[in-house]
Amino acid sequence: MIPFPLHLESLLGKPLMYLVFLLIGFLFGYVLEISGFNHSPSLASQFYFKDLRVFKVFFTAIVVGMLLIFGSSAIGLLDFNLIWVNPTYLWSGIVGGLIMGVGFILGGFCPGTSLVALATLKIDGVFFVLGSLVGVFLFGETVDNYRYFFNGSYFGRLTLMDVFNIPAGIVIILVTLMAVFMLWGGEQLERIYGKKDPAKAPKARYYGAGILVLVAVSIAIIGQPTTADRWSRLAPIRQQAIENREMYIHPGELLDTFHNHRLNLVMLDVRSEADYNLFHLLDAVHMPPEEVPGAIDDLIAMPANTVYVVMSNDETAATETWKVLTAEAVPNVYILSGGINNWLDTFSTVLEEEVCGEAINADEDQLQYEFDAALGSNCPAAYPDHDQYHFEYEAKIKLDIKRAPVGGGCG
């Protein structure tokens, strides 16, 4: 299994987890201070091209952070699917960003830098922080008047790779080159507007820029892990689980799960559309295998009590989909044992038997019943009467801890 990121709360308990966060915050504050982010004239003078210190720190940090994140993902240390990627809300992001820009040039700080300024007793920083508390208060009081705007233009977990439909490696090279170009351009602007001599800065920065570009190219060459790569890392453990049938749940357990309101049941029907239209379980979502990769982000983002049950006519296609979902770090995925055929064997009533006629002897993973009409979920077997059936089965569903963060640092 890919070990990182860690689930700290279950690993260390809450107090120690908070200690780790305190340490990260400490380092964050320390680095902001040594970088000069508590000095408001430095922050402001980047907007007059005189001293681009803050701009340099900022874009260097983005590139270094990005290369380390995608580099460790490329070599399989870190699971990018389990990392919090800020969801995209287009218009509230644009308007909020512009308002922030105005606050930036008037106030000379942003929230993180103002905290460091406050901590180092800069009085202008204290006033900025006090203003921020008022701003947060005003937002809470007013947002309800335009909540459709605030929650609108939502695109979910959307990366630059999704927008431009190019591989992560290319985006990484482009971002790195853009940053290096911007930093170089920044030095030229400083020379013109700030009367600074770039020749006095240490030569090492050229080597540094070269290293960043080299690393970016290497990451692009290695590439981000595909589903097959991810599965081959998991296979030694998970193949055994398949052989032990650890994730194949009895139809009776699925029926009981319908009525377990502590679980959020999501049923994924991976059969052809024709089979799905003939018969499917009530509330089962039709998701043919080719649509699964595009749905991973949404599935991971579901609440922590979500249980996914994959089903096909028997088990072959469902097991393949299970492998994809498990490899992509979707937690709590199960398979309906025996698939829809077994479900119909178990729950079909007089009504379905009238429509279905006899069970036929079809090929593997084909529907074993012949339907005269497309029933969809409009028949008793799609939602069997819970009180009528009692099964003895080995309960297999148990909730794993959700490792993906449920919110970023801005909530």
């Binding site: 400490f26 040594i34 270094v64 994140i69 009085i123």
Partner: protein, 189 residues
């Protein structure tokens, strides 16, 4: 014989901590590399990036909860943080924010930069600087709530994870600031 008292270590005085000569800031590229390392460590260990405005808003909700606890339960936006028995400070981002304060203070002490002072442009008074810092704080925090994150939570963290929305927010922040800079140049120049 008694030794000369002059050789005894100088008595520790609190005020000396704040009167050290200020050292210059680090090279910006070095600062950037270190900041990138901290950002990566945060993602690598916890799955989450860095943030500041989230912590600030929870402090604000905490203060509001002290003053008007009944009011919190009527504002949907605040209920999520501080509704009912919920403690708005019981969140990892508040802990990070507290760490930022301690880390900034520590570095300031070590490098002789923790001292009462006001930084400002040469042509305005301290009072004007404070007023604009206050107004800027209001606007920045309002915008940060609207955009669901600030320069740390959106631009830096979201930028490094290549979130499309975060890059939009980043360019909007810089765009807003550059667009207005000329008109308020007296504040800083």
């Amino acid at each position: 014989m008694e030794k000369n008292t002059n050789t005894a270590p100088k008595k520790f005085q609190m005020k000396n901590l704040f009167n050290k000569p200020s050292q210059p800031y680090a090279n910006p590229y070095l600062g950037g590399v270190l900041l990138g390392l901290v950002l990566f460590a945060s993602y690598f260990i916890t799955g989450n990036g860095l943030g500041a405005s989230g912590g600030l808003s929870r402090y604000a909700a905490f203060i509001e909860d002290l003053i008007a606890p009944g009011h919190i339960d009527q504002v949907p936006y605040l209920i999520a943080m501080a509704g009912g028995q919920r403690n708005p400070l019981d969140s990892w981002i508040v802990v990070v924010t507290t760490g930022v304060l301690i880390g900034g203070f520590t570095s300031g002490i070590i490098h002789g930069r923790t001292k009462f002072e006001t930084h400002k442009g040469p042509n305005i008074s301290n009072q004007t600087r404070w007023l604009f810092a206050f107004i800027g704080g209001i606007l920045f925090a309002y915008g940060a709530r609207l955009a669901r994150g600030c320069t740390s939570g959106q631009a830096l963290s979201g930028g490094a994870t290549l979130s499309a929305g975060s890059w939009v927010v980043m360019f909007s922040i810089f765009g807003g600031a550059y667009a207005l800079a000329y008109f308020v140049r007296r504040l800083w120049n």
